[in-house]
Symmetry: C3
Subunit: 375 residues, 3 copies
């Protein structure tokens, strides 16, 4: 689906209207699967985290059997948060700090103090549908999205050689970006901007000549080669001298970019992964949570992850500056959607999917479409 | 009116909708009596203060006869404030700093410079209805609320033994709370949260076993006993070794909580009062003005009010943290109003009154209802 | 058009409503001529500036022939700004930092990298109508305002003796004012407030006894005499001992105030000019760009402009404090538009023009009205 100079971007209102933003928040984020980060952030039974899905609080609990459970992060009594947002605690029960209501780790109400008789209504925590995939935890606030494996589709086999489920988070960083979340996605989906925006990246990675993947499902992605002079995505091109052992010859010299809409970017390099998770805050504001993931072997060998952290932190800031400038440039009435370049085919695919979801009321991550039988 | 586990809280929109907030601001605050603080803040003739009633400016002036007068804090010429908000000045006239229009302390226009002939329209300051009660000044921006004594009702005799009109403000503190004003009120109306939220308070005061008052009028309240081990509401339970002399035996060992809706909390302890005055700023933001009041005898004796200031400042911050967590918890779509506990009967009375005012267009502080004659 | 105490100000909503503000932004600022500042800020071919017209980005470029050109500050590809807002750069082409699209200084697209064939659509920069007048650059985003000379009208001959086109900017300062832009204009149009608001100014300039100009066109203005004891608008009344040589005897002792609606104030004194340019940000927020202009002779002689800078910076801050107090005073429901004073005739003319533009859909700077032939 090469746009060939004829396809054009979305109109300005898609990036500046509060009503469009509210629609997207309700349909794209709260209406389907969104990523809550790494599951191993909750390591032990009793670990509990307060997380944020597009402004809605979600409580994640590792129960006594070691299974992760997710609930609305809201006490059934008066609505107090059960764990403060962005915090992790370890406790044998879920405990509301306001009136000391106590829930078991499976979400059932254990005690409401000073009730006699106890309240007879169902006051267990409201469950939130969740699922895990290769180390990441996902939630579906709507409860009726297709099963997560159908949405992930063959991205699973594409990422399998990196064994993401065995990686360790060695660094993380949160960014506030003054731009609409779609501009951050669009920026991720093309490397046409790399030569002008990313001089450091362009020294170690080719910026053209790659290919887009042809997913069977809702994800998008493509890959580009490391330059011959470079061995890793780092400021000087040197890395840990190690490569994921299951990669084929191509992948061992490629940087592979994968978007699982609406919110997870997985960038796979020969020796590490870096992920970006988007949290939409307002039509012109997005929080981006970036994590660096290294294989356990390298962590055990004492590899300093600074080579990857410095590189992507440099690249991140260049990207956010570009996105923020576009946000300003398309505000104020002077923007006409321009033609997409041949190297923006993935971006085009994404925009077509957004436009379709505007029409259908979508979510943005459709599962594999049912194949229509031939008549 | 024990809720008995069946009554439930208000829906989330009551705490998150801008439209509900605008309604409440216009009907509850600007539509009836609100408290402007202590009258003796303006001690001498010519003293003038610029105050704020839910975003509307009010000018308070002590006139030559020593009487307090209240006006819109807006010059009749072009609208400049007459005294800057939150400031007190002493001047023989009311003087607009913009074009030097001068008003007498009774609000009549004395001079509009460079008019010849003088403007013939009525350009006296726009009066605001006001009244005092036991040292507090109240304003009614609507002008047609029932008389203040009818709204205060028997709260007057309930507080009489503390002689509030003779107390001195020994400390004050302003808090910005990121929560809807009703959450701050609800938090004040129950001590069900005390054991978990207020460990210091719970060491010196019992948190159950008290009674609610049965007011004849618009106020609400209840009382709880000091613990046997404590003599005062302080971090270590010791106080000034003095008790209001007119208290009966019960009151001399009780902490009494009184709400005069929508905005004044009067907490009476055996040796001091503390008050909270709410100023609604936005649907999710409330300013709280806290004042500590001590009897003149203790002030004259050089009593350090720190024992009460430290105690309530600690308690205040715990309360605001809880209110702010509830505000977050009920935002984002995952909140279902829960059942109120038996110890939340006052809160229930308040919510019924709010819901009634939503329906009738209220104000929130009804005067004593006319008794229907028997048929 | 002396208001004589009967004419009144605009209702509060004109200064507090978001809808009124959006109307004014679209009709008054983006619907006609607005000032972009001094043209000589871009001195050499290749100089480029990113400017702001009421939130819309404008790119100004001095082309190879030395002519100023203006465009939307938005790349035709994806909308990135071409020059960052409030920045000036010098480059042989217009270059988008995002994807390296290149435009010639005349706005035509020179290169879109990696297109083969090149895009066949018209992708030249979107031109913005502009014009210069006596050293100032103006833009008309609507493209259909009357010619700038018709809007400027006889302000041109009024200012001619000061030869503004030959002056040098010797200082500039940006202010954020928490008031509606019209309050800033109204404050400029009367010196009735000077005795009370500006003690320093009132020591060197008379505050009454002047005259309003009777323009044939869209501008407004008036003049007031220097006091006999003063030689310049400075804190101590002393100046550089020099006077614009072409001024007549009256002008040589006058301070002359000129408003070219909606956004340019030109204050002409016997030895320097000071200008204010308004940028509306929100209904209660205005950015004011102040510039001090001295004749080349004084600059060449090494005159320290501090005498004028200190004086107007003092005066500016007094004005903004007054405007901000009015903004607060007219918010909250207690404001009734008051009678305008005899010395507020210019302000009255301005308000009548605003009210007329509300009715007709504006813009605010009408050209000379066509004279109706006698029947």
């Amino acid at each position: 689906m090469r746009p060939a100079g004829r396809a054009r971007g979305l109109p300005a209102a898609a990036y500046t209207s509060d009503r469009v933003f509210a629609f997207e928040r309700d349909r794209f984020w709260r209406g389907g699967w969104t990523c809550l980060g790494r599951a191993d952030r909750l390591a032990e039974p009793g670990d509990q985290a307060g997380l944020d899905v597009a402004g809605a609080g979600v409580l994640v609990v590792r129960d006594a059997a070691g299974r992760l459970r997710t609930f609305r992060n809201t006490c059934r009594h008066r609505g107090h948060e059960l764990v403060a947002r962005d915090c992790v605690v370890r406790r044998p029960t879920v405990w509301c700090a306001y009136h000391a209501w106590v829930y078991r780790l499976d979400g059932t109400l254990r005690n409401a103090p000073r009730y006699d008789p106890p309240p007879d209504a169902d006051l267990d925590l409201l469950p939130v549908r969740s699922a895990q995939w290769r180390g990441w935890l996902f939630a579906d606030l709507s409860g009726d999205a297709p099963p997560l494996p159908d949405v992930v589709g063959d991205l699973d086999s594409v990422l399998a050689p990196y064994r993401p489920e065995e990686l360790r988070v060695v660094a993380s960083r949160s960014y506030d970006v003054a731009a609409n979340w779609k501009l951050v996605v669009e920026n991720y989906l093309e490397c046409y901007h790399c030569p002008s925006t990313h001089p450091q990246l362009s020294r170690v990675q080719r910026t053209e000549g790659g290919e887009s993947f042809t997913p069977t499902d809702g994800w998008l992605g493509g890959h580009l080669d490391l330059r011959n002079s470079a061995n890793a995505m780092s400021l000087d091109g040197t890395g840990p001298g190690w490569t994921f052992p299951r990669l084929d010859e191509d992948a061992a010299r490629q940087v592979r970019y994968h978007l699982l809409p609406p919110d997870l970017f997985v960038t796979a390099t020969p020796d590490h992964l870096v992920t970006h998770r988007l949290v939409p805050v307002a039509t012109d504001r997005t929080r981006v949570e970036c994590e660096w993931l290294l294989p356990a072997e390298l962590v055990a060998a004492g590899t300093d992850p600074g080579y990857a952290v410095d590189f992507w932190h440099t690249t991140n800031r260049q990207d956010w500056a570009a996105c923020e400038s576009v946000q300003r440039g398309i505000s104020g009435g002077g923007y006409r959607p321009g033609p997409l370049a041949p190297h923006e085919d993935l971006l085009h695919t994404f925009l077509v999917r957004v436009a379709t979801a505007y029409r259908t009321g979508g979510p943005l991550s459709p599962a594999r479409p049912t194949v229509e039988p031939a008549p």
